[in-house]
C-alpha cells in the first residue's frame, strides 16, 4: 500500500521539527499574530502541533464542524481569506526551510486548503 503523506513527510518527528519554526513565523507575522497572542504558549504549541499533524495528513481527525466551532471566535474577530492565505504561506515557508520536496508541500497545502470554508465559517 502507498505510504500516507504523514509517513512520507516524516511523521511525528517532522511535526516536532516544524512546530517551533512555524509558530515563530506566525508570531512574527503582523498580518495574523494578533490571533495568537491571547493564549499561553504551552497551549499554543500543542495546538500548532495539532494543526501541523492535520495538514500533514496525520492521525488527528477533525470534522468540518470541529473546524467551524474551533475558529468561530476568530471569525468574530475578523478572520478572513487574507489571514487564511497568510497561514498557508507560513506553512509553505516552514516546510521549504526544512527541505521538504515541493510535491509534498503541495499535498500539505491542499489538505489545509480543503478546510478554508469551515475555518472561515462560510
Amino acid at each position: 500500500m502507498a505510504q500516507s503523506l504523514f509517513e512520507r513527510i516524516g511523521g511525528e518527528a517532522a511535526v516536532n521539527a516544524a512546530v517551533d519554526l512555524f509558530y515563530r513565523k506566525v508570531l512574527s507575522d503582523s498580518r495574523i499574530s494578533h490571533f495568537f497572542s491571547t493564549v499561553d504558549m504551552d497551549r499554543q504549541i500543542a495546538k500548532q502541533k495539532a494543526f501541523l499533524t492535520f495538514a500533514f495528513g496525520g492521525p488527528a481527525q477533525y470534522s468540518g464542524k470541529d473546524m467551524r466551532t474551533g475558529h468561530a471566535h476568530l471569525v468574530k474577530m475578523g478572520l478572513n481569506d487574507s489571514h487564511f492565505d497568510a497561514v498557508l504561506e507560513n506553512l509553505g515557508a516552514t516546510l521549504k526551510e526544512l527541505g521538504v520536496p515541493d510535491a509534498l508541500i503541495g499535498e500539505a497545502a491542499a489538505i489545509a486548503e480543503s478546510t478554508r470554508k469551515d475555518v472561515l465559517g462560510k
Binding site: V19, D20, Y23, R24, L27, S28, D40, M41, D42, R43, I45
Partner: protein, 318 residues
C-alpha cells in the same frame, strides 16, 4: 452523571459540574483558590485521568499528566473517576523564619525524607488556606526552604511570614516541571526571576552546580530597588566559588554601579549570543514570564527548553 470515588466514598458528579464543585457540594474539604485553572491549588491525582477534558491539565507537564495529576476546578468528568487518597499532606515544623527584605521572608521547614526535585513547588496549608510556593532548597540540604513575599492584604502570605520557630504547617506533595534535567546538561542556562521567583531558580541552580553543569549559568534577578534583591550577598559568595556562574542583578527604580538598570525583559534578549544553545528557566510575575518567554522563543530558544513558573494569582481568590 458520573461517580467520583474519594477516600472510599462514592460521590456523584452532576452533568457539567466540576470535580471541585462536586466535592465541595458533598462536604469534602477540598483545597482550591482561583477556580480558574491558574493557581494549581486544587491539584489532585486520579487513577486514570485520560478521559478528562483538556482544561483539566492547564499548565501541567506531560509527566504530571502521565502521573495522574489534574485540576479539580477544571475537570468535568464524563466517566467515573477514582481519586488517589491524599497521601499528600504532612505536618512540618518551622525551623526558622528570617526577614531578608522589607517584604520577603525566608521560611525553613523540617524536610527530611521529603521527595522533590529542586525547583518544584508544593502547597503550603495554614489555617484552612493553601497556596502554591516554590521550593528553594536542594534535597541534600535536609530542610525545605521557601521565599515568601508578604502581600499586604493577602490572605495567606502574611500568615506565613508571621510563623515562628516551633510552629507547624502542612505541606502537599511536590509538583511542577521547572527543574534541571538531562535536556539542559549540554546547554548554557539562563535563569531569570523577578521578586521571589528567585526561589525555584535557587533550587535549579544548586542542582545544576551539584551535577557539575558543563556550560555557563547566567542568573538574572530583577527588582525595583536594591533591597528587592534579597539574596545579593549570598549569590556573590556562590559566584566566587563557581567561575561558570555569572550573576546579573537589575533594578528598575534605581541606578547603582554593578547593577544593570532596566527591565529583564529588555536586558536579557540582546545579551544572548547563541540562543539556540540555551535552556531558560523563568519564574515570577506572570506578565514578566509571559513576555520574556515569548521574546526568548522568538530569539531562537527551542520552545521545549523554556521552562516557566508564573506566580499566578486571581482576583477574589479565597
Amino acid at each position: 452523571m458520573s461517580r467520583i470515588v474519594h477516600e472510599g466514598r462514592s460521590l456523584e458528579c452532576r452533568f457539567d459540574e466540576t470535580v471541585l464543585e462536586a466535592l465541595l457540594r458533598q462536604g469534602v474539604d477540598a483545597p482550591y483558590s482561583c477556580r480558574a485553572g491558574v493557581c494549581h491549588a486544587c491539584l489532585c491525582r486520579g487513577e486514570d485521568v485520560s478521559a478528562l477534558n483538556p482544561e483539566s491539565f492547564r499548565g501541567l507537564s506531560a509527566e504530571q499528566r502521565a502521573d495522574g495529576w489534574f485540576l479539580t476546578c477544571q475537570a468535568k468528568p464524563v466517566e467515573d473517576l477514582h481519586l488517589r487518597d491524599a497521601a499528600g499532606l504532612r505536618k512540618c515544623r518551622v525551623l526558622s523564619n528570617r526577614q531578608v527584605a522589607p517584604d520577603v521572608f525566608i521560611l525553613r521547614l523540617e524536610g527530611k525524607d521529603f521527595t522533590y526535585r529542586p525547583g518544584q513547588f508544593l502547597l503550603l496549608h495554614c489555617q484552612g488556606l493553601s497556596r502554591p510556593y516554590s521550593i528553594a532548597s536542594h534535597p541534600a540540604e535536609g530542610y525545605l526552604e521557601f521565599h515568601i513575599r508578604k502581600l499586604e492584604g493577602g490572605a495567606l502570605s502574611p500568615l506565613l511570614c508571621a510563623l515562628r520557630t516551633g510552629d507547624s504547617v502542612d505541606i502537599s506533595e511536590a509538583a511542577g516541571s521547572c527543574h534541571y534535567g538531562s535536556p539542559h546538561a549540554t546547554s548554557d542556562l539562563v535563569l531569570a526571576a523577578t521578586g521571589t521567583g528567585l526561589a525555584p531558580l535557587m533550587g535549579v541552580l544548586k542542582d545544576a552546580i551539584k551535577k557539575e553543569h558543563p556550560g555557563w549559568i547566567f542568573l538574572f534577578h530583577g527588582g525595583r530597588v536594591k533591597s528587592d534583591l534579597y539574596l545579593d550577598d549570598e549569590i556573590r559568595v556562590l559566584m566566587k566559588k563557581h567561575p561558570r556562574l555569572l550573576y546579573r542583578p537589575a533594578l528598575t527604580r534605581d541606578s547603582l554601579p554593578g547593577y544593570a538598570s532596566g527591565r529583564l525583559t529588555e536586558l536579557i534578549p540582546p545579551l544572548l549570543k547563541t540562543p539556540q544553545q540555551c535552556s531558560a528557566f523563568l519564574c515570577g510575575h506572570p506578565d514578566f514570564v509571559r513576555e520574556l518567554r515569548l521574546k526568548l522563543f522568538l530569539a531562537g530558544l527551542p520552545s521545549a527548553r523554556i521552562l516557566a513558573d508564573a506566580f499566578s494569582h486571581t482576583k477574589g481568590a479565597t
